[in-house]
Symmetry: C2
Subunit: 508 residues, 2 copies
């Protein structure tokens, strides 16, 4: 069996790596024993982040930034669907504006960074760097909103903010500069504002549960980590959008009563807008690391991983013939091509200067969800060995079903018949299906795919009652090798014409 | 003719608008007469931008930010294809780091904003806000690059930068805070670095010419605007990526010579990396406004416009029956649906409280590329009236060809036969074609679609020799109503199996 051979090879090369010092780049602390040190090593050695010259500021390296960008792309598309528009407001706040909202400024005053000089000239009035943008935006909201016809006003911005905290800084979790989105919206009625709160809350839940695979509620309730609990809670608090009219009153964001003047001809007093604000920051990356990471390092959820499958040539040594080497290279090139075609982010580590064991450690430390091992014997037997990062499971896969299995390991199934849908969900997979995109059909799917757990005396962990599946997104990158043919391809659930491949999944 | 009726109606309602004061929101200055005032009115009244409390800082409103985001999405995808990765570095630079590169700091010292206080505490060392990130990034490049195996290192970041200029600020063009991307890359050889310079230059050219419809070279050479020429040139300078080893020497970004030690066993001196840096900023939006805007206001190029087609119900008055009103509403809903399906960003202005003339001015001022007028008579005659913003041309379009003509007005043709390809290009259109995606085929398309201008004695403006067409992009949003069927749909040029719809166009 190629598997056995490869494993032996891996064990041997791991030893080699140790003797050449390569193992030193691993994680030296146990998550259970010294959580803070474990966390710091994981985020730096996985190359997510680098400590910077200024305390409390960190460099987000590509391995972390990619996760943030995946969140950004997804969330941005969703809020634009809701009718929110992006804008960009300046980062400087004149002192007098910051002080306009007393409670607000008291909450932030102690941690505001002040610009006092431009070039060699002292500024007449110091400028705060935004810790958040209420005091930047709302004076202009007051200017732009005159009539109920100017509402709703729904703006979002992606930007950096600064909070000059003096407590212990922590990568991602407590940083002096961080990236976030902040949505600030104004509505004529409380009903509309309420509705948005619910919509945004649901999107945040999806970011955590579906993209980062962090069960939100469970995360809050069963938090056992030794890391100061408050931090974790703070991060989770980001999930509660704020609804208020206080700011509208403070900044006088008001509009004429659409009812017009009173019967006597006297003007009605202006109404104040209902406002929401909501933000999601790079702190979420810290939560992801804490929840999934293990003693080997980072564990990345497939949907946000920069590399979802790493392919490593194995079992090549002095006795390997040139022909065998070439066969491995050719096979790997084929595999990469197929994976790419199926929309999977795959990469080969063909660096000749590193041992196989070194490479295993390297990609485990970085949390790549699936490792694929291909050696000369695998090529001969038309197979490959796949290892999952999260549970360490290793399976030998036949070449023909490699993409399918690769997808399965990435928790993603392409489903074209209803009979396969619920079993795939039960297998904790996301399902990509040709879909009609109709709301009534989505309701039906949700109902049909719920598990009510009737035989409750026999409930096992994996047979527990569970929610029905909901649509998660309609991918911009539609699978190239399985096009939807209008009038031919049918919706997997209702049988009407399918419009596009759409992703469905159950919530945790 | 519905056209005539609508025009008369428009003329009348324009007068009405004038009498109710609505015309006041138009542009009061002529581009030819007072360019600076014209420019300021266009950017503010089109709602691209709002002046902010801090001099030299401006609010980018959704109408401008959307243009920036379209540039960002396109450019980001292109550089990732080249192998560039995104990261995020802190915005604070310790004084001592900023001073590391003498020439560099001299260029920026006079315009650096300094943070000197955090909360109520003076900082031990003042922190500069990045005017650009060489001094932030390169010390870490030096740390990360040890061996030629660590190269190339190709990072990009999207961020805000601050240059505390004291000269006259100008919206977009000279601002104290602006948004940009900055790419900083390091290579082992000059050849690789050279190659990247060429690639990035080509991408910047495409941003200007294909997205913003600003002919780059022509723009520099024939610049006749009264606006200070230097500014314009500065913006264009962004098109020249920088290639240098100076920074590598200054920050000691070096690597072991891959040749190993000298024959005598002595180590070879380390080699310095070849570095490029390249940036594109929101200044490009100012260029776009200056080049295309006219006395009516902004003129947006279709590819970056938030709204590409604005649909306005027309010819509705006291005599209009309920049935007619409903027929117009239904027709407009159909049109919007069709346009959306074809991937066009369309919107209806059905505000009951504004006159048709007011709406015409409103959307002209904002530069929407095409206005579509639909009245009861249009519905009866199964047609609509389209007006182009750039040249004012008005045509009556039959309903069946509306999407096609809408596309044409957006300078976009869907082509399925080669015979239509060159004529569409000659018509200054971009062409979307089913394409095999092979390089040899692209070369052939370029050759076949060039116009050599052989009959040069008869050359007219629109028959001048011109470059052949090149692929501009493979859209992520593939048209939903015309799916590529693998094995059936053929490449328009070579007849092999088509992979995806791809956009081709000629350069100016």
């Amino acid at each position: 069996m190629a598997t056995a051979v490869n494993s032996a090879k891996a064990a041997k090369t791991k030893k080699e790596a140790a003797s050449t010092g390569a193992i030193q780049i691993g994680i030296e602390y146990k998550k259970d024993v010294d959580f803070p040190k474990w966390y710091q090593q994981v985020v730096t050695r996985s190359e997510m982040l680098e400590y910077y010259d200024v305390s409390g500021c960190y460099i987000l390296r590509p391995w972390a930034y990619r996760v943030w960008q995946e969140i950004q792309l997804w969330f941005d598309r969703e809020i634009q669907e809701l009718g929110v528009e992006n804008a960009y407001f300046p980062m400087f706040v004149p002192a007098k504006n910051l002080e306009k909202e007393k409670d607000h400024v008291e909450g932030f005053a102690a941690e505001v960074a002040w610009v006092t000089r431009g070039g060699n000239t002292d500024l007449e009035e110091p400028l705060a760097i935004r810790p958040t943008s209420e005091t930047v935006m709302y004076p202009y909201y007051a200017k732009w909103v005159r009539s109920h016809r100017d509402l709703p006003l729904r703006l979002n911005q992606w930007c950096n903010v600064v909070r000059w905290e003096f407590k212990n800084p922590q990568p991602f979790l407590r940083t002096r500069e961080f990236l976030w989105q902040e949505g600030h919206t104004a509505f004529a009625t409380k009903e509309e504002a309420d509705k948005e709160v619910y919509q945004i809350l649901e999107l945040y839940r999806q970011v955590y549960e579906d993209l980062l695979a962090v069960p939100v509620i469970k995360g809050i309730k069963s938090e056992k980590e030794k890391f100061p609990g408050g931090l974790y809670t703070t991060t989770m608090k980001a999930l509660s959008p704020l609804l208020d009219v206080n700011f509208a009153k403070m900044f006088n964001i008001s509009f004429e009563d659409p009812q017009g003047p009173l019967p006597g001809g006297e003007a009605r007093p202006p109404l104040h807008a209902w406002q929401n604000s909501w933000g999601l920051s790079t702190r979420s990356l810290g939560t992801m690391v804490m929840v999934h990471g293990d003693d080997k390092g980072l564990v990345l959820p497939p949907r946000v991983a920069a590399v979802q499958i790493i392919v490593i040539p194995c079992g090549i040594n002095n006795k390997t013939t040139d022909e065998e080497r070439t066969s491995v290279e050719t096979r790997i090139a084929d595999i990469l091509k197929e994976l790419k075609k199926a929309g999977i982010r795959a990469k080969v580590d063909d660096r000749a200067t590193y041992s196989v064991g070194y490479k295993f450690n390297h990609w485990e430390l970085r949390g790549v969800p699936v490792r694929l091992e291909v050696g000369p014997k695998d090529v001969k037997n038309n197979q490959a060995v796949a290892a999952r990062r999260d549970n360490g499971e290793k399976v030998t896969i036949h070449h023909e079903s490699l993409v399918k299995e690769g997808l399965r390991d990435a928790n993603l199934s392409y489903i074209t018949e209803w009979k396969d849908f619920v079993p795939a969900l039960d297998n904790k997979n996301f399902c990509m299906i040709p879909w009609c995109e109709e709301s009534s059909c989505e309701d039906e799917i949700k109902e049909k795919s719920a598990r009510t757990g009737i035989a409750s005396t026999e409930v096992q962990d994996d047979k527990a009652p569970s929610m029905g599946a909901k649509s998660l997104c309609i991918p911009l990158n539609q699978p190239q090798d399985k096009p939807i043919v209008v009038g031919e391809t049918k919706c997997v659930s209702c049988g009407k014409d399918a419009k596009r491949w759409s992703l469905f999944g159950r919530s945790y």
